[in-house]
Amino acid sequence: MISQLQQKLATGRFVITSEVCPPKGADCGEFLATARGLKGQVDAINVTDNQGANMRIAPLAVASLLVREGIEPVYQITCRDRNRMALQSDLLGAAALGVGNILALTGDHISFGDHRQGKPVFDLDSVQLLQAISTLESGFDLAGNRLQGVPVFFAGAAAAPAAEPFELTLFKLQKKATAGARFFQTQAIFDPDRLARFTTAVSPLNVKVIAGIILLKSAGMARYMNRNVPGLKVPDHIVAELEEASDPVAKGVEIASRLASAVRSHCDGLHIMAMGREELIPEIIKEMR
């Protein structure tokens, strides 16, 4: 199946992606209701892979449910819980199920989540996972064996544009591009200048940039995320804005919407993380389309 997301990005359309967290459990009713609500509003929906190292239903399973619904998923796959055999095996499964968009991630460390005594795998890292995807696309597995059929993917990678030292992160981003990443979905952006610096630096790599925008629902949530979410740092002035607001959610929407407008010219699309308030996404992006 040809990725619509890939085609839209290739033709220069500004894309909107979002993410919905798969349920902890096998009942996907609520998950699907949320996803259906986003149909037509967004171009693709990321399904997270045991996000924050908390065990949930397999993202490949819910990605497949989305395909059935006519909603395009971005399958997030991490190296934390699978060795190279399981990664390739799941990727082939994805191709067979019509799940072509892949976000190849290292994965948050297991010590952040709800199964801290589990064995972290990290047999491959995100760069090597991207190489594995490219290898499968060449019709072979990592051991050099020929595959039945040739799977087609649209592979992307994560980026943290605000992380310092920037030069160090840039080395890895270059490797990700060399290994086959064709889009970057970034961590939540709070400083448009940092994104501009990032986009300028990665422009020679010929990788599409989808900038992350997060809906902060309260100052408490922002502080919690600063303590517990790797790679996410909400600046003090934004925490203060939320603190002083009489309606923090409305303020969060206003901040997200403001940032979306500010970063628009520095990217090829936006990735909206609405943190369970996906019904507010249309309001956040209303000036984008």
Binding site: C79, R80, R84, L105, T106, G107, D108, H109, S111, F112, P120, F122, D123, L124, D125, S126, V127, Q128, Q131, A132, L142, A158, A159, A160, A162, A163, E164, P165, E167, L168, T169, F171, K172, Q174, K175, T178, A179, Q187, P230, G231, K233
Partner: protein, 215 residues
């Protein structure tokens, strides 16, 4: 050296339940340096066991407990004390416990947990720098091991959780890729960071490891 740490005394006592007479074994090498089973700790353990109502039939600090032939010889030299005991309590690493268990012919209690192959920072302070992976890449990484020092063992640079050079799992800890980056900068060799490291060959560390030197 192999860093080990004595188990809590209550756990040791629980393991010795039903064994009133105990023979104690320590190690003169690593367990002595990390104070889990040297002369001093063996003596303290003896005092604590007696206070807890156990009889200590004797003790030995072997040089070194992982040396299987030496363990057999040292235990034979204390045959009567060993025979008198119901169990042996070993204050050494897991390698030591096993060579003693193989020679003792009696229940053998592991009195320590074995932690890692450690460098000694200063007296009483140990750090894991090498994870015995069987395929050394230190030449490419400025002499700093990402396999060990990165909690994820990443070979191609920092993960998305690194910021301000800090590790996502411990804000007090410097990201190993930041350390490597700084050292390569000093050596004007940061181009090393641009080379993609292939997936590691984990067949080099399949268990159990064995090495037999050619004559």
């Amino acid at each position: 050296m192999i860093v080990s740490k004595q188990k809590p005394f209550a756990d040791i006592l629980a393991s010795l339940d039903g064994h009133p007479r105990v023979f104690l074994v320590g190690c003169a090498k690593c367990a002595t340096v990390c104070k889990s089973g040297g002369e001093e700790e063996v003596w303290q353990m003896q005092e604590a066991l007696i206070a807890a109502g156990k009889e200590v039939t004797g003790s030995v600090v072997i040089d070194e407990a992982c040396h299987m032939l030496r363990v057999g010889r040292d235990l034979r030299a204390r045959k009567e004390m060993v025979e008198e005991a119901d169990a042996l309590l070993v204050l050494a690493c897991g390698a030591g416990v096993q060579s003693i268990a193989a020679s003792a012919g009696k229940p053998t209690i592991a009195g320590a947990d074995t932690l890692f192959l450690g460098n000694i920072r200063r007296f009483g302070q140990f750090e894991q720098r090498c994870s015995l992976c069987g395929e050394c890449i230190l030449t490419e990484t400025a002499g700093i091991c990402p396999v060990t020092v990165c909690p994820k063992g990443l070979l191609n640079g920092p993960c998305g959780g690194m910021d301000e050079g800090r590790c996502e799992t411990d804000p007090e800890a410097e990201c190993v890729w930041h350390q490597i980056y700084q050292r390569l900068k000093e050596q004007q060799a940061t181009e090393n960071l641009g080379k993609i490291a292939p997936g590691k060959d984990f067949s080099r560390m399949l268990k159990p490891g064995k090495l037999k030197l050619d004559k």
